[in-house]
Symmetry: C2
Subunit: 327 residues, 2 copies
């Protein structure tokens, strides 16, 4: 198994992608990682480490795509960027998957244009991991499709369901539609139509509300990409905000160092389900390949876990199962 890793993506490249790749080959002896990015800076970083040179390779891709660059434009004009080169290597069969902590839009665009769609897929989608009291669940679409239609929504649900089963090991995942109320007939005209179409599916449990996400009422929360993106980024902001609120509260209480440490430890443990590092990345579902994107701030651990998810996605033949379910 060969996984290509974007060594020029995210806020901390090449350090974090390189260290994540090293952890991944350490953990999985069957794995080879291909670091894709500017050869000079990758090699400079690798000098600090000792590793099996047959299982950690470098593929030069000298152009850089910034986090704020226009995705379509970047993919079109930067043919020598790590994302375009890496996805190209995947398309050519030189690797089994590509993971990146870089520009999400650019990776999505490159995956769509270069890899193309799986047979029967109307539109690929982003399924984001979402922290709940029951562990991580999926929020789909998380921003790739700002508007959804009944026919695409049903496919998003099916693809997310398969990913849930195969990668999150959830048996018979429950799918719910994120809406303004629980009763059938709630929401916009589009949501009402989506509801009627989903109603025919076995695992559909109906509408859920914003308050039902964190308790983990469903395994797959279906919504349009506008709602998904806003809810995703909102959720990601909670730990930092809470840390600030707790610190302010602690200040006013005149506690001992020991007590403060205990509180910080409890908070840290309590917020650990929000820690995206444990899942590492989110998959593009529906593209003809395995393409996973991570947070810009991905740590080495997050990159390692992204690589792990990619390996599992290939091993469990998630794409084969998606094609079988849609055709």
């Amino acid at each position: 198994m060969i996984v290509a890793v974007d060594a020029a993506g995210g806020d901390f490249y090449p350090k974090n992608p390189v260290e994540g790749a090293l952890q991944a080959i350490e953990e999985n002896s069957e794995l080879t990682v291909l670091l894709v990015g500017p050869e000079d800076i990758i090699k400079k970083e690798l000098v600090n480490h000792s590793y099996d040179e047959k299982r950690l390779l470098v593929h030069d891709a000298p152009q850089l795509i910034g986090m704020e660059e226009s995705p379509a434009q970047a993919v079109k004009t930067k043919q020598q960027s790590s994302i375009v080169v890496g996805i190209g290597l995947h398309k050519a069969g030189k690797c089994d998957a590509f993971v990146s902590a870089g520009n999400t839009g650019a990776l999505l665009a490159a995956s769509m244009f270069i890899l193309g769609k799986l047979k029967g897929v109307l539109r690929p989608t982003i399924a984001a991991y979402y922290p709940t009291l029951k562990g991580f669940r999926l929020l789909v679409d998380a921003g790739a499709n700002l508007e959804i239609k009944p026919e695409t929504a049903v496919q998003f649900a099916k693809m997310a369901e398969i990913y849930c089963e195969q990668i999150l090991n959830i048996t018979d995942p429950k799918v719910a539609l994120l809406n303004v109320g629980e009763e059938e007939g709630k929401g916009t005209e589009t949501l009402k139509e989506v509801f009627l179409t989903l109603k025919k599916e076995d695992n559909f449990i109906g509408n859920v509300e914003g308050k039902d996400i964190l308790p983990g009422k469903a395994d797959v929360y279906l919504c349009d990409g506008l709602v998904g993106n806003i809810v995703l980024k909102f959720g990601e902001s909670i730990p930092e905000i809470l840390q600030q609120m707790m610190s302010a509260a602690i200040k006013d209480m005149n506690l001992s160092q020991n007590e403060i440490q205990n509180i910080q430890k409890v908070l840290h443990t309590a917020l650990s389900p929000f820690n995206y590092e444990n899942v590492g990345g989110i998959p593009f579902l529906g593209v003809d390949g395995v393409s996973i994107v991570g947070h810009g701030g991905s740590s080495p651990l997050a990159i390692k876990n992204m690589i792990k998810s990619a390996v599992q996605t290939v091993e469990q033949d998630v794409n084969g199962k998606i094609v079988a379910s849609l055709n």
Copy 2:
């Protein structure tokens, strides 16, 4: 000043509305409260209290509207319900405002049908208080208009801005559009059009993302009612979920009773900005009257603060200022 209070609304009537009303007249000597609901149950509750009978009156409205009843249906068929009677009294000039912790949809429907719209208003809107690091700010629309158009969005922003200035005492409130990215040109076609229309307004600071809400980047977060309702209910679920996560974390740590109490106290203080009791209710903006709805679980304190908001809305002539700004 006379404020009518729904004594048959919310999860804890008549107790909480009655106690809230008692606190309100205690605090404001210029205020008279009219308790609207089934006379027998209100009077039975009042027996437990001593109060100025000239300043706490009862108006019989024997029918009950359940929290889950269809709003339009309830308003049409239950003419003797507290909501229809209370809003009717307001329309007839028998009171200056109406507040309720009952069925939000029914109050919205009754306010729309009976009070009508202010001159120049295309559609009334719900502006929900949202907790941020800087204190409560407004999220508009919070569920009354699931879809928005540029012309309604601009009005929602203006109405919320006036409410922010007059009731939240924020000078020159900043308005932002909740979107999937900060740059102009992000989002759905509708959001792009809304952006272009808002751009002409002085206080518009551009697009913000889901992560920008809790830090309080803007004072008015503009969105459609689908996004608003989901984000509102999601936010309301955070304190309870966090309490559960913290309790689970504490269990594993073998702490003393004293240490646990300190942690609970810090958490309580940290989460206090999320406590809706301090604001009590959310206004329907754009109706020709003052109509405020609270959480179903509103405490006496929350009811008291809803009444206080209603008094301020009348005293500051929020509606007059809205009409002046839109015409």
